[in-house]
């Protein structure tokens, strides 16, 4: 299967290893991602705070580029991109005054959008039973001894819970189970990581991430898995600051779900961007 692919800015920067591992892992499942040409930033939640109409217009340009490729599904790995593209599509269709304004703006630049694009997160492609069976078949190195803390973050299940439960989702748990890993059960699957608060009001951001890491540790997890570049960045890159602030001693690897899948599929580490981890993966990889 081939899909339109919208990477978003983060997976070209601090989240490079997400893209690297995602493309290579999905290839193993015969899923091909084709990057749409000359996409622009989705605007994230930040752009919307200043001017919502312009934010929708930014998103609409991407939707229009995707629609031109004649494939309806648009895959985006970043939760913020996922939400913004979905919300723009929703508002354009739901509110006539917004829809008209956006479509007119596209027209002024020689573009159009007919509302045919379906925005999806890669997890959504992997949730059905036959795909889980496929994943099981591909596993070369079952993840015995891995205790994974599945962290979904907020925006892939809220406010549009299209493929999973908005409070207690299971899609990621099911994938980890299929890989042979033990999933650590907990009620914080969709509790907020604070997003950009770590960069703006650090004390608040650190506390939110401390809570998540603490829960992972006391429940005996030996790694955390995420589906969003911002969650991954917050939970991994701020661990040393959190340790200083809270006198804790976290050293928990935070891996993208696609990296963990790739490890179980036996892919070489360069293909999964494992060398981009700031927290050492040595002990974790020895377990498996």
């Amino acid at each position: 299967m081939e899909y339109n692919y919208y990477p978003g800015c983060s997976v070209k920067g601090t989240g490079k290893h997400y893209e690297e591992s995602l493309i290579n892992t999905l290839k193993e499942l015969n899923i091909e991602l084709n990057e749409i040409e000359d996409w622009n930033c989705c605007g994230a939640t930040t752009y919307m705070s200043i001017n919502e109409l312009k934010a929708f217009a930014l998103a609409a340009r991407n939707l229009s580029l995707a629609e031109k490729n004649n494939k309806s599904d648009l895959i985006t790995p970043c939760s913020a991109c996922y939400l913004v593209l979905k919300k723009a599509d929703d508002y354009i269709k739901k509110y006539d005054q917004i829809g008209k304004k956006i479509l007119d703006a596209l027209k002024s630049a020689g573009m159009e959008y007919n509302g045919k694009v379906k925005v999806k997160h890669p997890l959504e492609l992997l949730t059905n039973d036959s795909m889980i069976e496929d994943i099981k078949k591909r596993v070369k190195k079952p993840l015995n001894g891995w205790k994974v803390f599945c962290y979904y973050g907020c925006q892939i299940v809220r406010p549009y819970p299209d493929f999973d439960d908005p409070r207690y989702p299971m899609s990621l748990d099911n994938i980890m189970n299929a890989l042979g890993a033990e999933v650590v059960d907990h009620p914080f699957k969709t509790r907020c990581c604070g997003g950009s608060l770590t960069g703006t009001i650090e004390d608040v951001g650190l506390r939110l991430n401390y809570i998540l890491l603490y829960e992972a540790q006391v429940r005996g997890a030996n790694c955390v898995t995420t589906v969003c570049p911002l969650c991954q960045f917050n939970l991994e890159c701020y661990q040393s600051k959190i340790n200083k602030q809270y006198k804790s001693s976290f050293s928990i690897p935070v891996l993208y779900f696609s990296q963990i899948m790739g490890i179980a599929f036996g892919l070489p580490r360069e293909k999964l961007g494992l060398n981009r981890s700031i927290i050492s993966l040595k002990t974790l990889l020895e377990v498996a």
């Binding site: 800015c9 983060s10 920067g13 601090t14 989240g15 290893h17 000359d38 996409w39 622009n40 930033c41 605007g43 994230a44 939640t45 930040t46 752009y47 919307m48 705070s49 200043i50 001017n51 919502e52 109409l53 312009k54 217009a57 930014l58 609409a60 340009r61 939400l83 508002y91 509110y95 005054q97 956006i102 007119d104 703006a105 596209l106 002024s108 630049a109 020689g110 573009m111 907020c154 925006q155 809220r158 406010p159 908005p166 409070r167 969709t190 509790r191 907020c192 604070g194 997003g195 950009s196 608060l197 960069g199 703006t200 009001i201 608040v204 890159c237 701020y238 600051k241 981009r276 700031i278």
Partner: protein, 189 residues
Amino acid sequence: MEINKRIKYEKELDDSFWRWIVSTPGGENVEQCIQCGMCSGSCPLSIYMDYTPRRLIAMIKAGFKDEVLKSFTIWLCSSCYTCTIQCPMNIKVTDLMYILKQKAIENKKYPKRFPISVLSKEFFNMVSKKGRNTEINLVFKLLLKTNPLKFFGMASLGLKLIKTGRMNFKSDAIKNIKQLKTILNSIEE
């Protein structure tokens, strides 16, 4: 000590405020609020807010326009949408925060030098000009305009990101920036 009047007279309140909100896309159900507090109780950030989301909605309905627009609450919201899912009256509380943020900027009521509103404006300018966001440029601008001393605290993380190849120094931009600008300008008209 400065002595200020703590209570507002009814005629000082603005009763057109909530009507305007209700007529704005995303704000439809605000008048249905039953003050149950599910939003505040589920919000991971309400303990840091000057007014909890429940209280903010009560203030909107009562007409405390200035206080609402000047509040830190609307900027602290991290858009996790927990309140929106929990609300029994289907009020889109998170989207309401966006409506208020935009109004606060429009009326120049946002807290000055407050990092969150500064970040939003810098991000907005960068994406409007280049079509992409380059993380490092954004961080530089944010720190320069809020707290340059924080550079020192960021140095060790910065080095680790460089070492793992996760930092891009080249400023990113899209090719067809003209097309994007045409679209954005058309919205302004």
